[in-house]
Symmetry: C2
Subunit: 225 residues, 2 copies
DNA sequence: CCAGAACCGTACCGTACGGTACGGCATGGA
DNA sequence: TCCATGCCGTACCGTACGGTACGGTTCTGG
């Protein structure tokens, strides 16, 4: 499960990418009530071709998830010149990017089918989504956190714990509420505001320039109990 | 959507509760690949009876969600004598209870079907789960936070924001990972440890006894930008 | 111009499942 | 004793959908 993000995969032809985009569109519109016939109709291809290219329904869904994942790669930071402002900006950008992703209709639709599949045990869509979502962003953010620590800007013992805390401060209840059908503010300004808040709170917890009141970082107890 | 938790509902007979428990068991075992025939077999009743009692499949699922929700009510705190230790203990207990809930196989199964339903637009299972999960705990925790503020132990402007921050510190990536099929440590000790960490971090952000370095609470910017 | 491959559109098959009908049995009240 | 009610078990129906088959059309290479 804790595998690296899989490669963008298999280099589909343009025609095949069109089909996968059709699947994404249908997924967003109709939820997981997706039928092979509907895909064929939408993509103007035959069902026989779908089965030839993707094997079966699960293969089509898997390919769709990978296809979508292969084009949301983003982020990165300038490791060379990392002062407090640059670190804060990078973290804030990560936070905003992540919020934009989990708020997108595509991500919501994909996560819904992956969650449903994970429940029925068939295939491993859940693992793929996790690898390309939560674990991908973790893999990209942790080097930044560690660079910030090496630059004396952050203080934490365990990178994973620090990252997961930031993750929680960013997402809070947003993803589960969206998955369950709640409506939330997903405007660009709203996202920017939340990203700024999460970053501010993260610095309050892990910023080295303003050492926590209790000795040690807040992720470890200052005293027993 | 932002409705109050619905009442435990309708007072089913014992026999009917047995049926709903059978649904829960099947949901946990087989995911949402739940068929009416399987329920009838498991509960040793006829399909006709199921339809008579619950209307249709969605009605059965809705009743099941309400039934499960009606018996996870818990929590509460002693408002009278609220010192720092009592507040911390209450928050930690809330956090541990919530982690135990979202880590339970029943909650995972129920959230999975609700997410799937929210995707297909049919029925409002998502709203029900949300009302009895996220919003129910919010409704129970916010009075505690405000009591803590009135007692001079916490400092925040907006109760909702403070609660959502705590929510994020507690859950982090746990719920989405579990829903997507990842395996996590859900032991009692692990939960207790995470609850303690979340509470410690929440106090670091919102504790009044140790004012934040920047003026104001970390949920509002100290200066523009 | 021809052969073959790729693919579209549609018809078709089998099965799973939601929902209904019905016969049989038990209980309880008159 | 008899009828009514409520429920079990099972058979049944209609439909939706995954997957396959096949005829017809377009494209490509020779």
């Amino acid at each position: 499960m804790t595998q690296a993000a899989s490669e963008g995969g298999k280099e589909w032809t343009e025609r095949q990418k069109d089909v996968l985009d059709a699947v994404l569109a249908l997924l967003v519109e109709d939820g997981d009530r997706l039928t092979m016939a509907a895909v064929a109709r939408r993509a103007k291809c035959s069902k026989e071709t779908l089965y030839k290219w993707f094997g079966d329904r699960d293969g089509l869904l898997t390919a769709t998830v990978r296809w979508q994942a292969s084009r949301v790669r983003a982020g990165g930071f300038d490791r060379a010149r990392l002062d407090a402002a640059a670190l804060r900006e990078s973290l804030e950008r990560f936070a905003a990017d992540w919020l934009a992703v989990i708020s997108s209709r595509t991500s919501i639709a994909l996560n819904r089918v992956a969650v449903a599949h994970a429940g029925s045990g068939r295939s491993n869509l859940g693992a793929i989504v996790l690898a390309n979502g939560r674990f991908a962003i973790g893999g990209r953010m942790k080097p930044l956190l560690e660079a910030g620590r090496e630059a004396g800007l952050l203080a934490f013992d365990d990178t994973e714990t620090a990252f997961r805390t930031f993750f929680g401060l960013i997402g809070r209840d947003v993803q589960i509420r969206l998955l369950l059908g709640d409506r939330l503010d997903t405007s660009e300004e709203g996202i920017a505001r939340e990203a700024a808040r999460a970053t501010r709170q993260f610095f309050a917890l892990y910023g080295a320039s303003q050492p926590p009141a209790q000795a040690g970082s807040p992720e470890t107890p200052a005293s027993a109990g």
